[in-house]
């Protein structure tokens, strides 16, 4: 086996050194009844070429978004162009094969990178501090709700009906066995939701997504004021971080906690994971924050250096009193985010956001030419909802058969909601070409 350095001689010599006769002498503590006499019923070892062939065959059974004629699928994951430098750097063994930086003297690379990541996240979200990442945007949102409850010591949680259903469900799962109701309206992409009314003195937090799952952009300031008035926290959710290059960041609109899915920057689609959860808040709430934090300090020679800090919040120190049970997070995806963001800078992120938005506007205008299709958004960033004259799911299937990935039918996100059955969520990015927009238009015309 190419990955196993020990030779038969080595094994013999080592058993001798140990004073054991056979390898099974080392497994004496295993109950005899549980010892497998022979390998389990699975295929034997295989060479690189064989494994590569088998998995390539599986990959070939999928229609990669980039190999499709066109793709307008979004809903929380976006196909952006990631510069080649990103993938090159994250594959450097010193990053890829390192563990959590528990020994700072030989982990300054990871630690400084995390400090830079935290700084970038704080800046783009408009918040004071950010942590070193969570699993993904949805778990970040769930942790934000738990943190809000801890912080204001209340139970009731209000969720916007326009919060990505996967996020809503994840929050519900995380809160499943804690008291306190979770209030949600019925979703309606055609109406503005009155959330302020739901916030009361029992409310721990309000969770709002911006742009929301239907693609609409809203001013969170009034909601922030409403929350403040009742002593509740405003949790803002961002599923498309590129939008922060174009839209007023939640921090500037008064959010107390901002959580986001960072995939769009530096990370590929990967069929949904691994992604990277961003988590930012106000300095005063630091000690209630979940997850790891890199902090600046000095070494014995007085040189600036970085360490993991405030770990008294974490499970390995605080155990059942920890702010979260998270340990492994999304380190390498955070690195990819940091590198891509370093390449972009303020100027690049603004341009990228402008480009995404302008193309979305272009597509929206062209779709106006599709009779029967109606744009439901009056505002959007790079994604919007179109109401079709017939159920969207079969239309999407029909176009997929033609190699066109038309978008996400809301019926898949809201299986229960008959009212949304005809709605199609359409996303573009800088990778979308005008030819592809035309393909969608003609494809829809054909299917309607």
């Amino acid at each position: 086996m190419r990955y196993l350095p020990l030779t038969a001689d080595d094994r013999r010599a080592m058993l001798g050194a140990i004073g054991a006769k056979t390898i099974d002498d080392l497994f004496v503590d295993v109950p005899v009844s549980a010892r497998l006499a022979k390998p389990v019923d699975l295929p034997p070892h295989a060479g690189e070429l064989e494994v590569e062939r088998a998995l390539s065959a599986l990959a070939a059974k999928n229609l990669a978004a980039g190999q499709a004629q066109a793709s307008f699928v979004g809903a929380g994951a976006y196909r952006h162009h990631v510069p080649a430098a990103v993938d090159h750097l994250i594959q450097r063994g010193e990053f890829l094969t390192a563990y959590t930086p528990y020994q700072p003297e030989i982990s300054q690379g990871t630690l400084q990178m995390l400090f830079e990541f935290q700084s970038q996240v704080a800046l783009v979200t408009g918040m004071e501090v950010a942590n070193a990442s969570m699993y993904d945007g949805a778990t970040s949102a769930a942790e934000a709700v738990l943190m809000a409850r801890r912080t204001v010591k209340r139970e009731k949680v209000v969720l916007s009906a326009a919060l990505h259903p996967h996020y809503r469900e994840t929050i519900q799962t995380f809160a499943r066995y804690s008291d306190g109701e979770i209030v949600v309206n019925a979703p309606d992409p055609t109406k503005d939701e009155d959330l302020a009314a739901l916030i009361d003195e029992q409310t721990a937090c309000l969770v709002v997504q911006n742009p929301d799952v239907f693609g609409r952009i809203r001013d969170l300031s009034p909601l922030a004021r409403a929350c403040q008035a009742k002593g509740a926290l405003l949790v803002a959710v961002v599923t498309e971080v590129v939008s922060l290059g174009a839209i007023v960041p939640p921090g500037e609109m008064g959010a107390d906690i901002v959580v986001a899915e960072g995939q769009s920057i530096g990370n590929g689609l990967n069929f949904g994971g691994p992604y990277v959860g961003l988590f930012a808040t106000r300095e005063k709430y630091i000690r209630q924050m979940p997850g790891r934090l890199a902090g600046q300090t000095v070494d014995a020679d007085g040189k600036r250096g970085f360490v993991l800090t405030l770990s008294t919040r974490e499970q390995h120190i605080r155990r059942e009193k920890a702010t979260s049970n998270i340990c492994t997070n999304a380190g390498l995806c955070a690195l990819a985010f940091t590198i891509h963001m370093a390449l972009l800078g303020s100027e690049g992120l603004r341009q990228l956001a402008r480009l995404n938005h302008a193309k979305a506007v272009q597509l929206a205008d062209r779709l106006a030419g599709v009779s029967g299709a109606k744009l439901l958004n009056d505002s959007f960033f790079n994604e919007f909802t179109v109401r079709l004259p017939k159920p969207a799911a079969p239309v999407v299937e029909a176009l997929a058969a033609k190699g066109i990935l038309a978008g996400v039918p809301l019926s898949r996100l809201y299986p229960g909601e008959a009212k949304l059955a005809n709605d199609l969520l359409v996303a573009v990015t800088e990778t979308t070409t005008e030819e592809q927009m035309d393909l969608l238009v003609s494809g829809l015309k054909g299917a309607l």
């Binding site: 350095p5 390998p39 699975l42 034997p44 793709s71 528990y102 003297e105 689609l269 405030l310 958004n377």
Partner: protein
């Protein structure tokens, strides 16, 4: 000649003072070990590392919420970015650099084939919300990986979406609680050994349980009698790590399982140490009801400096109905995804994260498993255990094994008795090891052992590598006993940074860069 001495920007950018000069060089650099400022200290607004086309001219539809404020991100060119992160990487230790015997973390070789395959467009460029008809290969891969995991553990079901071990623990306890409540049998307590990893009690608490700890025997195992004494009608589950965090196999595990079952409690097994028994022992045969598997440990998906990982959870038939959504199921037209708690999944505890799991890790883990095969995986466990016992044997006489002289599993655990009276602490000892070119062992964990040093070499270390590690440890142990206390307190001396002041970091947290001057004061 113009005079540069007053060019503020240069002095700012040049000044080694900013980053701390190394005696002997003006730059603070040490040949190949180069000081690197923060990205933010290298930025120029007018610089950019990407070239983007001019956007088509359109009237914006941002609902009047166009961002006005400066983003404050530094502008760098691509060459600077490549150099920045290359230099940072050079300040890291990694498996590729050398032996990384971090107990409980299973730092094994990460094959590059797996990296290559995870990047095939058919996997890496696949959108999770594409029509199911266009992702059949991806669902088949998940289903295949599930089959391998079920076969290796002997369990009938597996929940694939947990993103890491702790997430998997959460998943497991949720199913347990759901199962109890389905029987209308709300239970309050979860029993966890003192030696357990912090995520265990933290998870139990997150599921609304009271955590009670189970004492250990002098042999480093669960005290069966004490456990029985604590079991009762309100105990929902026991969370036992096996092989345990002392690197020992719970030889009474079957009795432990029976005791739990007799009281209607479930046996949650923390499978972080599965590497010691993969292919040799099936947890199902030990009475385990539910167990998470860290794909980033046993199945070699890279740790990436902290993540990402994946923590699938295998379940008994009794707990399977409560598994989180989505479910991948076989349907008449191929694979289907059940994304919400309905139909077959109506009893599911619901969704643990967005989308369908850590696909990137799944590809790597399956490639790793197929490469080893059933024969190779069994060899993995045997070599991992052999390597650990070899270290134990060769260090026994100069260090102090924590538990008697029986064999260990994949980890060798030592306490700090051998350092008694030397004035050298476990931490000092670890730091001295760094200068020798090795990553330290896990230290001060598990908590049940004083000044613990938990070493896990894994099966991918050669005998030559272990022998050099032993040589270094023995020479350090002798040094300590020879009274060279000061040497240890001064360690490490050859690293990019010496010991860092963690107290200062926590007392006055600086968690992000801030623009110089005014804002600085705010900190």
């Amino acid at each position: 000649m113009p005079d540069f001495t007053h060019d503020a920007r240069n002095t700012h950018k040049d000044s080694p003072a900013v980053i701390g000069a190394h005696p002997g060089t003006a730059t603070g650099n040490r040949a190949l070990m180069i000081e690197e400022q923060l990205l933010f200290e290298q930025g120029e607004p007018a610089r950019c590392g990407v070239d983007l086309p001019e956007p088509p001219k359109v009237a914006d539809r941002l609902g009047g919420l166009a961002r006005k404020s400066d983003l404050g991100l530094p502008g760098l060119s691509e060459p600077q970015v490549i150099r920045h992160f290359t230099r940072l990487s050079q300040k890291n230790y990694s498996i590729d650099t050398g032996l990384f015997p971090l107990g409980s973390c299973t730092m094994k070789h990460n094959p590059r084939l797996n990296e290559k395959l995870a990047r095939l467009p058919g996997f890496g460029d696949l959108h999770p919300m594409q029509p199911v008809s266009t992702v059949q290969g991806a669902l088949e891969l998940i289903d295949t990986l599930a089959h391998w995991l079920k076969t290796l553990t002997g369990m009938p079901a597996v929940a694939m979406t947990p993103a890491a071990g702790a997430h998997g623990e959460f998943c497991g306890l949720l199913t347990i609680r759901a199962a109890h409540e389905a029987k209308g049998d709300a239970r309050r307590r979860v029993l966890v050994p003192e030696s357990a990893h912090g995520t265990n009690p933290a998870t139990a608490a997150a599921c609304g349980y009271e955590v009670e700890s189970i004492p250990a025997t002098p042999r480093g195992r669960v005290d069966l009698e004490a456990l029985k004494a604590k079991l009762g009608p309100d105990v929902a589950a026991i969370m036992v790590t096996n092989p345990n965090t002392c690197g020992l196999f719970e030889d009474e595990v079957i009795a432990i399982a029976k005791a739990a079952h007799d009281h209607g409690a479930y046996f949650y097994c923390d499978g972080a140490n599965f590497n010691a028994i993969v292919g040799k022992v099936r947890p199902a045969d030990l009475g385990v009801d539910v167990m998470h598997i860290n794909l980033h440990k046993t199945f070699s998906t890279p740790h990436g400096g902290g993540g990402p990982g994946a923590g699938p959870v295998v379940l008994t038939a009794a707990l399977a109905p409560y598994a989180p959504t989505p479910w991948v199921v076989h349907g008449p037209n191929g694979f289907e995804l059940i994304e919400t708690p309905a139909g077959a999944a109506k009893a599911s505890v619901g969704r643990l994260k967005a989308f369908h799991g850590q696909m990137g890790m799944f590809v790597r883990a399956l490639a790793y498993m197929m490469s080893h095969g059933s024969d190779g995986l069994r060899q993995v466990a045997e070599d991992a255990v052999l390597n650990a016992n070899y270290l134990l044997a060769r260090l026994r006489d100069v260090m102090s094994p924590a538990f008697g002289d029986g064999p260990c599993m994949h980890e060798a655990l030592f306490d700090d008795k051998f350092l008694d009276g030397t004035g050298v602490s476990t931490l000092d000892f670890a730091k001295a090891l760094i200068d020798e070119g090795f990553h330290p062992t896990t230290i001060y964990f598990p908590l049940v052992v004083h000044g613990a040093m938990l070493m896990e070499p894994t099966e991918t270390e050669s005998k030559e590598s272990l022998d050099q590690f032993v040589m270094a440890l023995r020479s350090l142990a002798e040094k300590a006993k020879a009274g060279e206390e000061a040497f240890f307190h001064a360690a490490p001396r050859l690293t990019p940074r010496r010991r860092l002041d963690e107290t200062a970091a926590a007392r006055k947290p600086v968690l992000r860069w801030r623009p110089p001057a005014p804002a600085q004061a705010a900190e």
